[in-house]
Symmetry: C2
């Protein structure tokens, strides 16, 4: 990756942080000195349960999903379209355990990893990090609550409609099998609902 591209991607993280809380020169310097953006090619894993679950990732652009395996089956647990932090599920008090979630790029994705150790150092040294951290966690808590409510809607059709309502993004880039497992329905059910809705619109 070109040095200038790296600078651009780290700046995207800094812009995101400063949209949440004013940041100080010392904080900016730490970020610029320590973050190393990465490009993850389409279909490659960002993280799998054989990795240590030490990092969270800012998705500058691309498409990443989280999934777990249950009896050999992949179940998509979330989908990220960028401009947010992602990570595998990890209890805040039990660091450095392997993750149960896989993170996979569904498109070429530019990410900026941040280790939990580094974040803890920022928490201890720069007060603004605590404000930024609670705002990001507030957004993530809200998103996870929405995912949790969505999956509990009994009707498959209503789940799909709610999913489309919540996501203003271009969901056409997400493979249908991922959407199906995310919505807790079989692929055939999802296809049937989609054709029905297209017909209803026609």
């Amino acid at each position: 990756m070109l040095e200038s591209r790296k600078v651009f991607l780290v700046n995207a993280v800094l812009n995101y942080f400063s949209s949440l809380c004013p940041i100080t020169p010392g904080f900016i310097q730490e970020i610029e000195k320590n973050l190393q953006p990465i490009l993850v090619k389409k279909n490659k894993y960002v993280l799998s349960p054989i990795d240590n679950n030490d990092d969270v990732f800012f998705v500058v652009n691309g498409l990443v999903r989280g999934f777990i395996k249950d009896g050999g089956k992949e179940i998509t647990t979330w989908i990220s379209f960028g401009n947010e932090f992602i990570g595998a599920i990890q209890h805040p008090r039990e660091n450095f355990r392997p993750s149960i979630e896989y993170l996979q790029a569904l498109e070429n994705s530019e990410l900026v990893p941040m280790s939990r150790l580094f974040i803890n150092r920022l928490y201890a040294s720069y007060q603004e990090t605590n404000v930024i951290g609670r705002k990001i966690l507030g957004l993530q808590y809200y998103a996870a609550s929405e995912r949790s409510i969505l999956a509990r809607i009994p009707s498959a059709e209503r789940r799909y409609e709610k999913f489309m309502e919540l996501n203003s993004f271009d969901v056409s880039k997400v493979p249908l099998r991922c959407i199906a497992s995310y919505l807790g329905m079989r692929l055939e059910t999802l296809s049937r609902i989609r054709s029905k809705l297209v017909k209803d619109l026609a």
Copy 2:
């Protein structure tokens, strides 16, 4: 409620906060001056969508659930056994809208409400609030992620097993119809799974 009971309940909140981060005398004073614990009787609502969704609640003891209504049906979205903060889902940037979630006490429950306005004042005046806030939101984010993953496990039996594994609490106090909708299954399915597991153990 007796004055001494109120003091006891507010102290429970202060103990919880100080287990997360050292708190200052000014912070303690604000809490003691402003919080008014409440007792919510079994089956009564703590909050419903006709209320303003202005408060979060520390559950000192009791049993509270969140639920939504979908086509007249109640769907339990979470269950709290106490010693944590609860609230109806609310986008962090869109305050003071009515909630879509109902909060209902399933047992007599002693709660300490805190308004979002009051919390924002604490954020602005006492640095430790930001540390406490991000730690609480980290715990809530983790719990919501677990709820979200749980609901996506395809097999009803595996969902029930996972639910029992995640909850070390006395789930026998929770009405079966609440557990069934929380686990996205019909009451009959839940009863069948439970009898099967009892037989397997015998």
